[in-house]
Symmetry: C2
Subunit: 222 residues, 2 copies
């Protein structure tokens, strides 16, 4: 399969899932999304969690457990092509590097299903919605850190050329740094706010909220 | 340095720090610990965070950044001996394996200072206390997962003999699986409870609390 057909299939099926979540989940949630503040943001977040959860489980799950796929179906051939294509950006995927398999394994087995659960949690307005989103996002960030640091320590020389380095290795993974960073920041703030509402008086709230958000920034950026 | 003197220095200095936290922090916290529920548990948690934070920053920080220590002081000699001793349980520490350095680097630079901050957060009853403890504990668990999975994938054959395998590799690291698991479970529940208090009526609380705790167990244990 060529690069363009692989990207078309991946982006096309992702777009299909995202549209499905966007249009379908407007009807079955509780409390109804249109009665909440930030209903559009909640819908966007559900789309992200559906997309990232399926990517973790299907693409990354295949990479980790591929030796046990013996049947050659169209899906397996497609997944093999995706892996081969991505290896141009990071040859450790072809060489089955143990750090990469460990990170991808954790991502596929724990974070994949947990991401899909986040879609449900947001739709139903569950009490664990923010803490679940925070936990999964921090896991994604930790995974990216291990992924980038191990490559850096081993010479950062795993791409076929600069195009694949910047488009696949940096470009594709960059989204899994940026978006989890934004989501974990928001979830962290929301959890702190809830705790403030319960514990303390309202006049202290603004000061506490500022303290809480600056703490997150310091923790993540050093 | 012999094994017994290394262990004596490590455990002795840890005991010193833990005692300091236990006896000193009784006086400077707000709201006062003796006025809280679970005050003894909070004190125990502060001791754990002080101990684990210093271990991350001193022992693991030295391992990651050791090439830049040029001066030979008594502390550096001791730390070198600890690393040499621990390498008997996992020879990847002597070989500077990149996955181990990546995990130890994240632990030393982010989780070490964050653990010490948790001591302060518990003492002062900060609103971010539980979310911080959850984030650091999940980070420790993720680190242990990567640490054990990479060793397993590479043959699980890095110990000098069975004694060092079980006492250092399994025994010492086991505490950093068990305790973060307990703390993240407790923090998760506390965050969900707070969210329940704000969002819903009391009669739904018990059901929600059960749902929330069983979700955590399913997420972690598969």
């Amino acid at each position: 399969m060529s690069m363009s057909s692989i990207l078309t299939v991946y982006l096309g099926s992702s777009l299909f899932v995202v549209s499905l979540v966007w249009f379908l989940f407007g009807k079955i949630q509780f409390p109804p999304l249109h009665l909440r503040k930030n209903s559009q943001l909640d819908k966007l977040l559900m789309c992200w969690w559906a997309f990232t959860g399926l990517t973790h489980m299907v693409l990354e799950g295949y990479f980790v457990f591929s030796p046990s796929f013996s049947k050659t179906t169209l899906l397996v051939i497609s997944l093999k092509s995706v892996r081969k294509e991505y290896s141009k950006g990071d040859s450790r995927y072809a060489g089955r590097d143990s750090a990469v398999i460990a990170v991808e394994g954790i991502t596929a087995v724990i974070e994949g299903p947990a991401s899909l659960l986040a879609v449900y949690a947001i739709a139903k307005g569950k009490s664990y919605s923010y803490v679940l989103q925070l936990a999964v996002s921090l896991g994604q960030l930790y995974g990216c850190l291990v992924y980038f640091i191990t490559a850096f320590l081993e010479g950062d020389n795993f791409a076929t050329n600069a195009f694949y380095y910047y488009s696949y290795y940096i470009g594709a993974n960059g989204w899994w740094v940026l978006i989890p960073l934004l989501i974990s920041y928001r979830s962290w703030i929301k959890i702190c706010e809830t705790s403030d509402n319960v514990d303390t008086k309202t006049q202290k709230k603004k000061k506490k909220s500022l303290e809480c958000s600056s703490l997150f920034v310091v923790l993540i950026f050093g």
